[in-house]
Each structure stands twice: as C-alpha cells, then as structure tokens.
Symmetry: C2
Subunit: 206 residues, 2 copies
C-alpha cells in the first residue's frame, strides 16, 4: 500500500505537535481551541483529528514523548560508574538543559500535565512516580555504601530533589526568577548543593 510516504506523514504529525507546544504554552491547554493548533501548524482543522484521536491525546503525546526520554536518561545514568552526587547533578542538568532547549515544551509539561493528571488517566501519575523511584534508588544505594547518611528516607529525598528542580523551573516559567546561561548553571549547582549539603552550618551528627 505504501502509506504515501511514511516519513512525510511522521513529519506532518510532528508539525502539529510542535505547533501544539507553542499554543499550549501561550494560551494553556484549556484556553486554546483545536483550531488554534491547526492554524499555528498551517494545517486544516480536520487534519489534527486525522493524526490524533482528541485534543487530550495531543497533550498526552507531548508529555509521554518527553518524559520517556527523561526516564531513559536517568536509567542510563544510573548504570554508569558515578557518585550519587554526580548522578543527581547529571539529572538536574538534563532537566534544566531541557528547559533551556525548549522552554515552551517544559512549560506545558509542568503547568498543564500536573493539573491534567487529575482528570486524565492514571498513566501520567505512574510515569511521574517512576522517575521518583529511580531517583530514590540512587539515594538508597548511596546510603547503603555510606556516602549518604540515612536520616531521611530515599523516597523523601527524591521528592525534595525533584521538588526543588520543579520550583526553579516554575520560577523561570512565571518569570519570578532571572533566566540566562549563568542562572541555568548556577541552578544545577544549587539544587544539588541544597539537597546534598543542606543548610546547617554544623552537621547534626558529627
């Protein structure tokens, strides 16, 4: 049958996805119309429904695509011979660089998906939990080999770590924090320093 040209079809699909990122980022998922996406993509309204079953599926796709890349990166990192601190730094770097590279996409993922996680299927929550668990694993192994103390549970450390990153991204997204290459690099360092080093001048247990 020769599906016209599979590559071209995939490209059209991507054009629509990329347009959706821009539209979702600027108007919000609920604030935009499907026709806005079509217009932005320079494509007829109906074509969106040729490539996607629904408006929801477009958002779904964007999230899963990106989140899976991140999970792969974390898993890969996890297999390498690095200290826990180095692994955490690498994860923070990946996420922050993702923002640097495509702020709109990250905005959509952070702002729209969490809210949608409510109404959308359980799928997203499971995916998000998966990331936490990978991070918790890194912490747990560091505690086992003595490089991290075990005053906090790994699960909890993972939450705090990811929470710090998410807050920083939110700060950039909502423009309450200055953005720029210097700030991005500083943020990577500070996330890791806060979580690993803590704030106390004198460690609780000597």
């Amino acid at each position: 049958m020769a599906a016209r040209n599979e590559q071209q079809a995939a490209e059209k699909r991507r054009i629509i996805l990329d347009a959706a990122v821009r539209v979702f980022a600027s108007q919000g998922f609920n604030g935009c119309r499907v026709s806005d996406i079509a217009d932005e993509a320079g494509v007829a309204y109906g074509l969106v429904y040729h490539y996607f079953r629904s408006k929801d599926e477009v958002l779904d796709t964007l999230f899963l695509e990106r989140w899976n890349v991140m999970l792969d990166v974390i898993r890969d990192l996890d297999g390498q011979d690095l200290t826990a601190r180095e692994k955490l730094y690498a994860i923070a770097s990946f996420i922050i660089d993702s923002y640097r590279h495509d702020p709109d996409l990250m905005k959509v993922i952070i702002v729209e998906v969490t809210r949608a996680a409510n109404s959308f299927g359980q799928t997203h929550i499971e995916k998000i939990t998966e990331a936490y668990e990978l991070i918790a694993g890194i912490v747990a192994r560091a505690q086992a080999d003595g490089s991290f103390k075990d005053t906090v549970t790994p699960r909890f450390a993972a939450l705090a770590f990811y929470g710090a990153i998410e807050q920083v991204l939110s700060g950039w997204i909502f423009e309450t924090l200055p953005r720029g290459d210097v700030e991005f690099e500083q943020a990577k360092r500070l996330v890791v320093e806060t979580i690993c080093g803590g704030l106390d001048a004198v460690p609780a247990t000597a």
Copy 2:
C-alpha cells in the same frame, strides 16, 4: 436597611465557597459547571452570581483567603524568638496541618492555582512570591548569624524548601504517598531534615 442579617449573608457565601471546594477538588476547576457548585451548596444557580462576579472569582477567593492566613502565620512566626530551623519546622507544620484539616481545599490551591498561576492574574504569582520572600528572609538572617552556611542563596533555599513541601502534598493528593497522622508528622520532620541537614554523610566543608 439592615442588610437582612449580615451574618446570614456571610454564611450563605461561605456555604457556596465550601461547596466549591468540594466540587473543584473532585472535578477540577475546568471540569465542573457552576451549576455543580450551586447543586452541591443546595442553592439556586443564580445565587452563585449574587455572591460572586464569576466562576473565576470563586476560586480567587478561596486561594486568597487561605494564602493570606498562611502569610500572616509566617510573618508572625518570623517575629518570634526561634531558631531558623524551628521557624522552618513551624511553617512546614502549618502547611501540612492545613492539608490534614482540609485536604480538599489544599488540593484546589495546589492543583488549580499554584501550578496554574499562568491562566490567572498576576496577583496570585505575587502572593506566592511573597511567601518565598518571607522564607528567604528567614534563611538570610540565619546565614548572617552563622547558624546556616552561605553555600546557597536564600532565595534558592526557599524554593527548595517550599518545593519539597509541595511535592509531599502532591504525593498525598494524587495518592502516591501513604497518608495518616504518623506520615504527616514524619513529613514535617523529613522536610526540615532534608533541607537543613542535607544528604551528604560528610559535610563538604569541615
């Protein structure tokens, strides 16, 4: 004139607000109809518009009401003679107890407002930033008096601290973390321990 009975009017308004909390929590702000709120409150559709200018204003009111209480608590705490760590613990306690006391309200605030500050006015972002700044102030003063080291900026420490709390609340909201009195108390301790104590077994600077 005697506005019928001012107290009764305020009560009706409150009944509508409380109903809105339940409806927003279970269906989401965008997923519900104004008539759902009216039904839940046992009140006619039009009455919602007698007390509020729009659906948005209902959510607005819920957020501001609660957030202002929190800001007051933090400001009050800030004036007391406590260590920075104690202050942070008290803030974490207040937020977590707020969740314990009214999980639906906190769910609405976190899911619909904090993470969606986008679609709403700039007002909310400013309010949220205000909280960060108060926390940053606590950290800054602790750094000045030597009880906190100054490896991270106060602004950043505040982000990490609040981020950790928000992640924990999200975990409870989306049911990926176990809930219960024991967990609530543990969470307070762990948030503060993570941020203040850090994960490293050996402090970076001896």
